[in-house]
Amino acid sequence: METQKIDYKNIFYPPGGILIWIVIFLELITFGIAIVALALFSKDDPEGFHASRLLLNPTFGAINTIFLLTSGYFMATSLKHFKTNNRSKASLFLKLTILGGLFFITLKSIEYYQKIEHGLDMDYSTFFNFYWLLTGFHVVHVLVGIVILIILYFGINKKESKTELEDFEASTAFWHMCDLIWLLLFPMLYLIL
């Protein structure tokens, strides 16, 4: 089987291409600023933030972390198979990746439903303002990621597929970016404050 090669050591060709990495850094910086703002606001009202934080269920957060990490593992495995032109296995692991993302969205929806049912909306407290904005924007990224993966899935399963390695790597990088954001949000929102 033929293996596709890219010179990753070239500064302009990180895995996925430089454009997706510019997007990733813009997203990470945006979420990073919001996380620092959350920490600063919590200093003004530590008791209020702590009381609000205790209204979250860390088990939901931990299970969602496992879902995203597992999904990321499947994505990395799918990429590995794509690189060796094993399209059937790449396709299988891509499906599992999408499934992991859907599990994440499902659990998040249950969590959101419970919060709304108990009146814990954006106006409830400053903490919940941050909670809804940060997790909401993250969910939007996961949804966009799922759409990208579905397009990729159909792309690689076409008879005469035009999906290049860089397209696959860029989609992979976007999906992992969702993991990265969550890895920073999870302790801040569910465990620390």
């Binding site: 990753y8 050591k9 070239n10 500064i11 060709y13 990180p14 895995p15 996925g16 990495w21 850094f25 990470l28 910086i29 990073g32 996380i35 620092v36 920490a39 600063l40 919590s42 200093k43 860390p58 931990a62 972390t65 496992i66 990490l69 597992t70 990321g72 593992y73 994505m75 990395a76 495995t77 590995k80 790597e169 992979t172 990088a173 992992h176 993991d179 990265l180 890895l183 920073l184 999870f186 302790p187 801040m188 465990l191 620390i192």
Partner: protein, 80 residues
Amino acid sequence: MKDKNTLTILILFVLTIASAVVSNLGANWNWLVFILMGLSALKFILVVFEFMEIKKANSFWKFLTVSYVLTIVLTVVLIL
């Protein structure tokens, strides 16, 4: 490589469980923040280097990703 990915996900699971355990220990507040954010930084670096394959990229990208996560984590630790 398959083993490397499998090993990575196992370490990530262990670190996630460790975060949950540590948060329930009732440790000193400053240490708790430091440990939990440190574990997050470790997971972040593992995902970036192994799953996103930045370990194969130019050192510039390695420096940028590690600098980013350390800046965020240290800023949060210093604020809290």
